[in-house]
């Protein structure tokens, strides 16, 4: 269960270390960097949003980006770790993000949660 191609096991070890990480890891890493950049831009909007709904919208989008980021981090070290725990974390985070958004909206609208 590794990102390295199984046919590489037939190649001697010295050529394997010269191979470096697989190309898929670079794609996942670049996607992580793009997601972090987008989260920083959304954080700027959340800090200076004129209305409270701008802040809620930005925080909700940041939560969605965090879910995807955790799922991407799971695949960065696929050769040595089990990514299913990270995916459990991101499923739970997606549920909590949705519930928190609805709860904050309800609190703002009615000034109470019941």
């Amino acid at each position: 269960m590794s990102l390295v191609d199984p046919s590489l096991a037939l190649i001697p070890l010295a050529e394997q270390t010269a191979e470096g990480p697989p190309a898929a890891a670079f794609v996942v890493f670049g996607t992580c960097l793009v997601l972090l950049t987008g989260a920083v831009l959304l954080m700027i909007r959340a800090l200076r949003g004129p209305t409270v709904f701008d802040r809620i919208l930005a925080v909700n989008a940041m939560g969605t980006k965090t879910v995807v980021l955790v799922a991407c981090i799971a695949f960065l070290d696929l050769g040595h770790a089990d990514p299913s725990f990270y995916l459990d974390t991101s499923i739970v985070y997606a549920l909590i993000n949705f519930v928190v958004t609805i709860a904050i909206l309800k609190y703002i609208q009615y000034r109470r949660l019941s």
Partner: protein, 172 residues
């Protein structure tokens, strides 16, 4: 790189482009209702594309594990773990596809019902005034919200200064 990894890389590149576009749109759009557009649509498509790209990576691993040479006389349980990962990714994609537009719709509905909000005064960060979110093409007072008793939040007067208790409301 296998075929599925190449397709997954293309998916993830397009998804990352959509994610960055949505973030820049949320930061740069002029008013709140315009900001709903990139946050609601491009983020939903971006997360779907990125997670499906990751699922294709796992599918390439699964394909390599099943069809690859087995030195140990069997494949073991590696395919089961990879199938588990793919199922979780597809489940996460479906979950976000349901919840992200719902949350955006809830934010839009709440902002529409609460048309008068506090915005900061220009060149005076300490003060704020009650103002209306100006929307092009907004019909304003002529629009009658057919809201039920739960969503009936009152008149168009701004009441955010002091939330007085309302004894006659009949909510559960």
């Amino acid at each position: 790189m296998g075929v599925l990894e190449i397709i997954g890389s293309v998916f993830m590149a397009i998804g990352a482009l959509f994610a960055l576009t949505g973030s820049v749109g949320v930061l740069r759009m002029p008013d709140f209702y315009s900001r709903l557009h990139p946050a609601g649509k491009s983020d939903t498509l971006a997360q779907a594309l990125i997670l499906l790209g990751l699922a294709l990576f796992a599918g390439q691993q699964l394909l390599d594990t099943v069809t690859g040479p087995d030195e140990h006389g069997g494949h073991g349980d590696a395919w089961l773990g990879l199938a588990n990962i793919m199922v979780k990714l597809v489940l996460l994609t479906a979950l976000l596809f349901l919840t992200a537009p719902t949350a955006t719709h809830a934010i839009a509905k709440a902002a529409r019902l609460d048309r008068y909000t506090r915005v900061p005064v220009e060149n005076d960060p300490g003060a704020s005034r009650v103002a209306e979110i100006v929307v092009a093409g907004d019909v304003g007072e002529q629009l009658e919200e057919t809201a039920g008793p739960v969503l009936d939040v009152g008149t168009a007067e701004p009441q955010r200064a002091e939330p007085e208790p309302e004894p006659e409301e009949d909510e559960p």
